[in-house]
């Protein structure tokens, strides 16, 4: 059983087989890459036709580019209260297009730099949510029985914890830092994903091809990674994009409540500072509105992409 048995009648069917195989390179790695490329082009062709998805994607592209290029456009010195370039509370002018804050910092600079933290927290918390949620959901759904009961109880427990009080408690125990913000958001948002993944796993694992693979002698690991996960993937994927939007909102909320990292500039902390300084009553609209609009736009962009992905990846909704 160590090597494959040679075909019993080589003369009958080995001849011509090599020539008949698709002209793709014979190296499995290259085959896989060629396939992936084809899959991505195919996916892109469908996605491109989705107007909502394209608007979301372009918007998102702009924000990501700005976040990446922020250090080139803004010098960190300008963001330090001590070395701020302007005078406090200046309305928009040609020098400061979005005015200045209480320290004389340019609000435009703050918003540009803040996009880095907001997006970083959004993505990092989402990765955590997805990994934990998928692991818990698939484990519970696949093994069923007692494992499922335990996982389900665990999930429900996290699902019913009110997340803001938990965030307040964690922030006071762990201290206010960027990592803790990510941790808090991740901890409180994986439960929904776990439920979604579990429900899908339950339906996929009963399909005949999973039984076939089991009859094939496949291990649980093989079944989960090769058969169940690929079939649950579209759900996870579409959910991921929406989770990023929610995580960014959550980060803003935490910062607004004064639970964010006081040393890093994010959209949330800008709004928090503005509130703190009484921007609302003083009529300093240029300080409050820009970060708020950015949050709205990014959340909207992610949501649009999410819905578009769902439409493209879910054959039941896809229009042909």
């Amino acid at each position: 059983m160590s090597t494959i048995e040679t075909p019993r009648q080589p003369s009958e069917f080995t001849v011509g087989v090599e020539a008949d195989l698709p002209p793709a390179p014979r190296d499995p790695k290259k085959i896989r890459w060629a396939r992936r490329r084809r899959a991505i082009t195919g996916f892109w062709r469908v996605y491109r036709k989705n107007k909502m998805g394209m608007v979301g994607l372009v918007l998102l592209g702009v924000f990501v580019l700005v976040a990446l290029a922020a250090p080139l456009m803004v010098s960190p010195d300008d963001l330090r209260p001590a070395t701020a370039p302007g005078i406090s509370f200046q309305p928009p002018s040609s020098e400061f297009p979005l005015g200045t804050d209480d320290f004389g910092r340019s609000v435009l600079d703050l918003v540009i730099y803040g996009s880095r933290i907001s997006l970083l927290v959004g993505f990092a918390a989402t990765v955590m949510t997805m990994v934990v949620g998928t692991a818990v959901g698939i484990t519970g759904g696949y093994y069923g029985g007692r494992v499922d009961t335990v996982m389900n109880a665990f999930t429900n427990w996290f699902l019913v914890i009110p997340w803001i009080p938990l965030a307040i408690v964690l922030a006071s125990i762990l201290g206010r830092s960027l990592y803790n913000t990510i941790l808090v958001i991740g901890l409180t948002s994986w439960a929904g994903t776990a439920r979604l993944v579990r429900a899908d796993t339950l339906s996929v694992k009963e399909r005949p091809y999973v039984e076939r693979a089991r009859a094939l002698g496949a291990s649980s690991w093989h079944l989960v990674t090769r058969h169940i996960l690929p079939n649950v993937m579209p759900v996870i994927f579409a959910n991921t994009v929406l989770t990023v939007a929610l995580s960014i909102l959550a980060e803003t909320t935490l910062a607004l409540l004064g639970l964010g990292d006081p040393l890093s500039v994010s959209w949330g902390t800008v709004i928090f500072d503005a509130f703190d300084a009484g921007a609302l009553s003083a009529g300093l609209w240029w300080w409050l509105i820009p970060p708020g609009v950015c949050i709205c736009l990014v959340t909207l962009a992610f949501t649009m992409c999410g819905y578009a992905l769902d439409e493209v990846l879910n054959p039941r909704i896809r229009e042909r």
Binding site: D20, P208, A215, G217, R226
Partner: protein, 328 residues
């Protein structure tokens, strides 16, 4: 030595509504190069036997008896060796190829999966072997990169057959391989199975409810009713001269076109198969039997000799205890 030897097999599903004895006391052997046909109505336990051979039932299902696959007791295997036996010892051609293929993976990969799971070859050799298998079952090798939805029903069933042969198993279990295929394709698939079986000298367990199909492909036929084998013998004799009234009814339900005997009388069998949780006493078939006698509800039927090299569980066969004996 027979490839598969099943002794006193009992399979009981344990449900919330109580135990369901799906297979009761089944014994049979399949020798190398032979085909055993297993026939019966829906729910009589045919597919349950197929699942039991590779132990595919959930852990809560109770399986008793002995299943020797090439001398190895499948029911006593630990999980690791059990996985190794699956597909290399016996493979299954599942009913409904449509659903037995993962829609998001290429058919070639799914055939190769059988080879790579058992580490019989590397990825590259597996691909070549897969192409050979596809050619062997009458599909062009370029189909290797197709997705299941790009194939027709018959082609998918061919893929399933190729997959079943991937690890050179000594036994192939064909579980209603031709359901959901139209008649022409059915005939092609049957022909392919039969020729492959002859060519490779495979032992085969062929499960169907279509007795006329069985008569064509099998050497021996076993008829199941309510979880038990009620008749067993050489294929053509069981089909043409049934000894058990149930077999008669089953054979009569598939009239032969052009055969004068069937003209004007497509015959069926009244009633429904019994609920496995409430199997009638005595001979389980007696409530539906056209030739039942007074003794049937109390008689414990067994497979009695019904002529040379065949057995049937009916009071009317020659080997049965005489009626007077049974009634006393």
């Amino acid at each position: 030595m027979s490839v598969l030897s099943v002794r006193d097999l009992h399979v009981t599903y344990r449900t919330k509504g109580g135990d369901v004895p799906a297979v009761r006391d089944v014994t049979f052997d399949i020798d190398k190069g032979h085909v055993l046909g297993l026939a019966g109505e829906s729910g009589c336990g045919k597919s349950t036997i197929a699942g039991a051979i590779l132990r595919l039932h959930s852990a809560r299902t109770r399986i008793e008896g002995e299943i020797l696959l090439e001398g190895q007791d499948v029911l006593a295997l630990r999980p690791g060796p059990l996985r190794a036996v699956r597909w290399t010892g016996a493979s299954i051609i599942f009913q409904g190829a449509l659903h037995a293929l993962n829609p998001v993976r290429r058919v070639g990969d799914q055939i190769a999966e059988a080879i790579t799971v058992h580490k019989l070859a590397g990825e590259r050799e597996a691909r070549v072997r897969t192409a050979e298998l596809l050619e062997h079952v009458g599909l062009p090798a370029r189909r290797i990169d197709d997705y299941p939805h790009e194939l027709s029903g018959g082609q998918k069933q061919r893929v399933m057959i190729a997959m079943a042969l991937a690890c050179n198993p000594s036994l192939v279990i064909a579980d209603e391989p031709t359901t959901a295929l139209d008649v022409m394709v059915q005939a092609q698939v049957l022909q392919l199975l039969k020729s492959l079986q002859r060519e490779l000298g495979l032992a085969m367990l062929f499960i169907t409810h279509d007795l006329s199909v069985l008569a064509e492909v099998s050497d021996r036929i076993a008829i199941m009713y309510a979880g038990k084998i009620v008749e067993e013998g050489a294929a053509d004799r069981v089909f043409h001269e049934p000894a058990h009234p149930y077999t008669t009814a089953l054979a009569g339900a598939f009239p032969e076109i052009g055969d004068m005997r069937f003209r004007g009388k497509p015959s069926g069998l009244g009633g429904d198969p019994p609920d496995p949780q409430q199997i009638p006493s005595g001979c389980p078939f007696h409530p539906r039997c056209p030739v039942a006698v007074d003794a049937c509800p109390t008689l414990d039927v067994d497979l009695w000799s019904a002529g040379e090299d065949r057995r049937a569980a009916c009071i009317h066969v020659s080997g049965a205890p005489s009626l007077s004996e049974a009634s006393t």
